[in-house]
């Protein structure tokens, strides 16, 4: 379950190039995000650390690998780490996956410490249950970077998205398109998951300021297309006209299928960067000018975590909390993203060492996060 969370969550995030977002939304996203993300930045050298890390191993402990999203993430990690090893930036790397079992993941983290890893990046199956293992790792002098989620243990560094801001960006977009008035359907992720709650809270906080927007239904799509399609299909007959659908990623295409199958007028469905969603949107746009936006996490966020770990090992003083940008796709960049996204996969864009370093800088200074470029079409 937790595993899925990420996938869901991640799926939703997107990188975004400054230019991508409509001015208001984007700058809001970034500035607010950053504002919130302005954590106590250590007094830092605001540039890439060059310390010798060639003999140090970095490990990746993943909570789960049972989804396409996670499979891409694992590959991203291995490719990045392999190249880094070749470039003499690390001495080795390793990857273990825990099938969503926190006890197993805690054990794997302890093993990595014993095996001499100098830094571990963690996609955590729980925000509390790994605290012991994380603390032990820290006391053994290992740098711990938790990404796409968090743990409550203070010694860990966090690389994460601002999920509430994602919810706000969705509502802001729909509010603009619907001119402040319309019925919304909310597709949530997995009940009880913290990412699900953060996104939904962001959605409702933003929507509460818009009296014309009304939520007519809520379903839990579990960040899974088949589930979302079923849940939306089953609630549709009981709903009045739906004008907009707020989503969390991995659920937009299923929602679109459900509306089409029911013979309903298509609402504006926020997409989550999956190839299916983008391709459907492109086709629909060609047919009748349908427009929406898409945003979500990218599997490559593991690369950002990897480089943060590398920078820590190289001696850089990094803020405890690093916020990374979501990938957002707007109408004008749609074709380029469809082309750049592998068939059946999810939109992705690399977090290089340079980009990660700039992201760390931005977090230190409270400046806007650097843009992730739209692929060249």
């Amino acid at each position: 379950m937790l595993a899925q969370r990420e996938e869901g969550s991640m799926t939703k995030t997107s990188f975004n190039s400054g230019r991508v977002l409509s001015a208001g939304v984007l700058s809001a996203v970034l500035t607010v995000g950053l504002g919130a993300g302005l954590f106590t930045a250590g007094a830092a050298s605001a540039e890439m650390a060059k310390g010798d890390t060639s003999g140090m191993k970095i490990g990746f402990s993943s909570s789960y690998s049972g989804s396409s999203f996670r499979q891409v993430m694992n590959r991203n990690f291995e490719e990045t780490a392999k190249q880094a090893q070749k470039d003499g930036l690390i001495g080795g790397y390793g990857l273990v996956s825990a099938n969503n079992n926190v006890t197993e993941q805690a054990g794997q983290i302890q093993n990595m410490v014993l095996q001499g890893y100098k830094a571990i990046v963690i996609l955590a199956a729980s925000d509390t249950a790994l605290n012991g293992a994380v603390r032990d790792a820290c006391s053994a002098g290992v740098k711990v970077v938790v990404f796409a989620g968090s743990v409550t243990e203070k010694c860990a560094y966090t690389v994460n998205y601002d999920w509430a801001q994602m919810g706000k960006a969705e509502v802001d977009y729909l509010n603009g398109r619907l001119k402040g008035k319309g019925n919304l359907l909310e597709i949530r992720g997995i009940a009880g998951d913290s990412t699900d709650k953060d996104i939904s809270d962001g959605i409702h906080a933003a929507a509460s300021k818009e009296p014309g927007l009304k939520f007519v239904g809520t379903v839990y799509g579990q960040w899974t297309q088949t589930v979302a399609q079923k849940e939306v299909s089953t609630i549709l007959p009981t709903l009045p006209q739906v004008d907009g659908v707020v989503t969390q990623g991995g659920d937009g295409y299923g929602a679109a299928q459900a509306f089409s199958a029911a013979g309903r007028k298509l609402p504006i469905i926020i997409m989550g960067n999956r190839y299916d969603e983008l391709a459907w949107w492109q086709k629909q746009h060609a047919k009748d000018g349908y427009e929406t936006m898409s945003l979500g996490a990218t599997p490559s966020v593991v690369e950002a975590a990897f480089w943060v770990a590398q920078q820590l090992l190289a001696g850089r003083d990094v803020p405890k909390k690093i916020e990374v940008p979501l990938l957002t796709v707007q109408q004008k960049d749609l074709d380029a993203w469809v082309k750049a996204t592998p068939k059946g996969g999810v939109a992705n864009a690399p977090f290089t060492r340079d980009l990660t370093s700039q992201i760390i800088d931005a977090n230190e200074k409270g400046a806007a996060l650097p843009a992730i470029p739209t692929p060249k079409s």
Partner: protein, 318 residues
């Protein structure tokens, strides 16, 4: 389980397979009240079209559960996923390859079912462990084989899944006919009778000359094939094979079989009862979604409602 008291109980009350339908009808009425009578027919139609998948995988599960106490197939979700990937990849989106894809899904599912039975029989591993272990292996194969992407179905398969004649979904009619065949097999053939006899008392069945091993083996094979079929159809309906597509069907396959009147102790099965149970579960989701209750309350109601239905549907000896 002795046959005579069971018969007596059945004479006194409704057959266990009826309770799913009754519960479904109550839920449907309740949802209509909540939604001011809106969309009653659409609601049923949606519930029926999604029932096709849970009925497919649930029917396979029913064969296994009916074959005797302790028999269960936990590998269904993994089989659904792997068969979907393999068949979608084989077809590569080409309409002409549909029969190949379908046969591949059925054969692969059947083979995995045989392997399951092999683990249970040859290695003497309890079915709950054996099929769970097999499911990890199958899931790993799906990850390795399907991995990073969703594989799209041929257009003809997608079109077929939503094809309606006079407002009636053709796939639904075929699925109902399939259940009719299963019903006949269970109650009118030597094989079906053997399966139920074996489920009631394996020792007695063996003494009566039934080839216990063979009958149970086919039950596992049927379960694998039905999961494979479910994966094939589901991928066609939802736009492709994806790694987590089967997850929802683990509990669902067991739930529809048991709520549909299959005895957990083995020896009793109902091909049509599964439809009642599948409708019930689907309409329960509709009802709870339309109440707008929080997730916690929804889970609570789901659990309680299932308990109530099971309470009525299960025969208890005094």
């Amino acid at each position: 389980m002795s046959v005579a008291p069971a018969r007596a109980a059945r004479r006194l009350s409704l057959p266990p397979s009826a309770y799913g339908f009754i519960a479904a009808a109550l839920l449907w009425g309740g949802t209509m009240l909540l939604s001011d009578g809106r969309g009653g027919i659409e609601m049923l139609s949606v519930a029926l079209s999604f029932s096709i998948f849970s009925v497919a995988v649930g029917t396979g599960q029913m064969f296994v559960i009916a074959s005797g106490p302790g028999n269960i197939d936990l590998s269904c979700p993994a089989v659904i996923t792997l068969c979907a990937y393999v068949s979608m990849n084989l077809m590569g989106g080409a309409d002409g390859m549909l029969p190949v894809g379908l046969i591949a899904a059925l054969v692969l599912g059947g083979v995995i079912g045989l392997v399951n039975y092999g683990l249970v029989r040859a290695l003497k591993i309890p079915p709950i462990i054996a099929t769970l272990a097999a499911s990890f292996v199958v899931t790993s194969l799906a990850m390795w084989y399907g991995g990073e992407s969703t594989v799209r179905p041929p257009q003809a398969l997608s079109d077929f899944m939503i094809w309606r004649v006079g407002g009636v979904q053709v796939a639904l009619i075929l699925a109902l006919i399939g259940s009719g065949v299963v019903h006949l097999v269970l109650h009118r053939t030597v094989y079906g009778r053997s399966l139920l006899a074996l489920g009631q008392n394996a020792r007695a069945a063996q003494l009566a000359g039934i080839r216990v091993g063979f009958v149970r083996m086919t039950a596992y094979a049927v379960s694998g094939m039905m999961a494979g079929l479910c994966g094939f159809l589901l991928a066609g309906f939802t736009g492709g094979a994806a790694l987590n597509m089967g997850e929802a069907y683990l509990m669902e396959s067991v739930a529809v079989a048991v709520l549909g009147g299959t005895s957990v102790a083995g020896g009793r099965a109902s091909a049509f009862g599964i439809w009642g149970a599948a409708l019930f579960l689907s309409l329960l989701v509709t009802l709870l979604n339309s109440t707008g209750l929080g997730a916690g309350a929804r889970y609570l109601f789901t659990g309680l409602t299932i308990l109530v239905v099971i309470f009525f549907a299960t025969e208890r000896r005094k």
